[in-house]
């Protein structure tokens, strides 16, 4: 994260002038060509085509001759609102926000307990990384097995006298999705919080130790303020990742997903590759981009704002 929040302009502002003098005239911009051309081919052109598809009536019949498919303006966008788009947006946003909120305390707590050296800390840190390292599709497969009606979760619940029930269909599937996402995603907050904790100067610790402050006021007033900026950034990124998470609901519930977990990526996927309404699903995908754009905009701004704080923070 520290590397991310430091823009090149500022870090090298003194050298900038010298550099201009030396190499301005011999900038090897042609070196951008291979990467740039490929980027245009595989990223920009598809994005433009996606925009175009959202404006045409494209289905399985016109798919192979999409250039000739009829232009229908904004009809796809209008239709997406009557095809469950708003419901999916609501599920996606609430799922993403709840998951993020739940992972913050877990991540910070994990960072706090691994900050100090002790015997076996390396092992604990490695364990904390496991949920993050495991591929999403593996995590989802495992939880899908555990949450089966006759699976181990219900077997345990009935031992303590709780009726298990269905986790992968019906209203509970929403909470199952959130629980698994929390399990898989908290190490991201942990890593960001740990990086921030390690940048706290020793003097700060020593000064507050001399004060003899008990642990909680010290933590709240002295240490946690250092974590605020980085953790907020991590939250934005985590929320974006939750909103875009396709693998987890897809492998956990299958497609089409149960009504209660029909998140945006699932809706777009089913509309295009099962209902074969490519134009309609492109419109939905473009609209979901608007959803992403808000936190992303804040994120891009926040990344730059954090730079100004860096010099004069506390």
């Amino acid at each position: 994260m520290t590397t991310l929040v430091r823009p090149p302009e500022k870090a090298a502002s003194k050298k900038e002038q010298r550099r201009r003098g030396v190499t301005e005239r011999q900038r090897p911009l042609w070196l951008l060509t291979p990467g740039g051309v490929l980027m245009i081919l595989v990223v920009l052109i598809p994005l433009a085509v996606a925009l175009w598809i959202s404006l045409i009536d494209l289905d399985q019949y016109s798919l192979r001759r999409w250039v000739e498919a009829p232009f229908i303006g904004l009809d796809n966008f209008v239709e997406s609102f009557s095809s469950g788009l708003l419901n999916s947006i609501w599920i996606s946003v609430s799922f993403a926000v709840l998951s993020t909120i739940a992972t913050i305390p877990i991540g910070i707590a994990a960072a706090l307990v691994t900050q100090n050296k002790y015997k076996g800390r390396a092992l604990v840190r490695a364990v904390f990384l496991i949920p993050y390292v495991l591929p999403s599709f593996v995590v989802a497969t495992v939880w899908r097995t555990m949450l089966q009606p006759d699976g181990v979760v219900n077997a345990w619940l009935s031992k303590v006298g709780i009726e298990g029930g269905l986790w992968l269909t019906g209203p509970r599937s929403y909470w199952a999705l959130i629980l698994v996402e929390i399990w898989a995603a908290w190490p991201f907050i942990y890593l960001m919080a740990l990086a921030a904790l390690q940048s706290v100067d020793n003097e700060v610790h020593e000064a507050s130790a001399v004060d003899g402050a008990p642990w909680w006021p010290k933590l709240r007033r002295v240490i946690l303020p250092y974590l605020r900026g980085p953790v907020l950034l991590a939250c934005l990124l985590a929320t974006l990742n939750h909103i875009n998470n396709f693998t987890l609901p897809f492998v956990l519930f299958g497609a089409p997903a149960p009504e209660d977990v029909n998140v945006m990526p699932m809706l777009v996927y089913v509309t295009s590759f099962q209902s074969l309404r490519f134009g309609l699903s492109a419109a939905m995908a473009v609209l979901s981009l608007v959803l992403i754009a808000i936190p992303l905009f804040v994120y891009l701004r926040a990344v730059r704002l954090d730079v100004h704080d860096e010099g004069g923070r506390r």
Partner: protein
């Protein structure tokens, strides 16, 4: 790293709380993780009836899974496609990142912002046009793309290339430019500098960005589920299809499924174990899984 006195000073939590929190977190992580291992050593019947601790241990699932599911084809396909993705995006990413970091030109900031922004674009939005372009390629260009490994490779570049480029940008920023300038005064041109100085100096970062590109591909289900057919299925899709076939009908072979899940996770876990220090740094730099 510091004197014992200051180690005491940096202690943030009282001992009892530290022990409690650590225990709770470790247990929370390990219950499902141990479940994969235990279930894969159990019998299919045992797992289906909700056992956590197997009533009998055997390695049967690991031998039978290869015939039950088409896992070996999936793993080979994944390895081939992801390896190509990794090499291509790491090398092209390094070259592009070098120019982006060292030279200023019109549109440079836009490109940098775009690299960050692209990592948050929903995969479905990229997959849709790629699928349409690929399926019409047969018609317009006389090419079969869908269902081929190289088609999947091109599709993976859509997210691996921006990501690798960004990882290299964050690394190259911190690289001192003195060596390059010295070489330049000796008369070396940019290609020589890139080849003889930048590539060797940033080799660890290049490897990391390549590994990330590899993992992005290995972990993908979305693109592979649409762009492959049975012969070109990746490991992830093979496991997903295998999993979705288990419910309903005959006895579900959950134990074999857990063995398959563990086999699919193994390369990823091994990569992390081998490159842990570099990869964790890269995670926080890139900010994306």
């Amino acid at each position: 790293m510091s004197a014992p006195a200051s180690a005491e000073a940096t202690r943030l939590l009282p001992r009892w709380l530290l022990v409690t929190v650590t225990t709770v977190l470790v247990v929370m992580v390990l219950i499902p993780v141990l479940y994969i291992v235990l279930a894969s050593l159990n019998s299919d019947v045992g797992v289906a009836s909700g056992e956590y601790w197997p009533s009998s241990f055997s390695l049967d699932s690991y031998t039978r899974i290869w015939t039950t599911a088409d896992l070996s084809t999936g793993i080979v396909n994944s390895l081939i496609v992801c390896a190509f993705t990794a090499v291509a995006s790491a090398l092209l990413g390094t070259t592009t990142a070098y120019v982006l970091v060292r030279y200023s030109f019109l549109g440079r900031l836009t490109i940098l912002r775009g690299l960050v922004g692209l990592q948050s674009i929903p995969g479905t939005l990229m997959l849709l046009p790629v699928f349409v372009l690929f399926s019409s390629a047969g018609n317009y260009l006389g090419l079969t793309v869908i269902g081929t490994r190289w088609g999947l490779f091109v599709a993976y570049l859509t997210f691996a290339l921006p990501f690798s480029t960004w990882v290299m940008v964050t690394y190259l920023r911190g690289l001192p430019r003195e060596l390059e300038e010295a070489a330049r005064t000796e008369g070396a041109n940019t290609v020589i500098i890139l080849w003889k100085i930048i590539f060797p100096l940033s080799l660890p970062a290049i490897v990391v960005s390549g590994i990330f590109a590899f993992l992005l591909g290995w972990n993908d289900v979305l693109f592979a589920s649409v762009l492959t057919r049975p012969e070109t299925h990746t490991a992830a899709v093979a496991l997903q299809i295998f999993g979705s076939q288990q419910e309903g009908g005959a006895l579900p072979v959950y134990s074999q499924m857990m063995a398959a899940a563990l086999i699919c996770a193994a390369p990823v876990v091994l990569l992390y174990l081998a490159f842990q220090r570099y990869l964790v740094g890269g995670l926080t730099a890139g900010g994306v899984k």
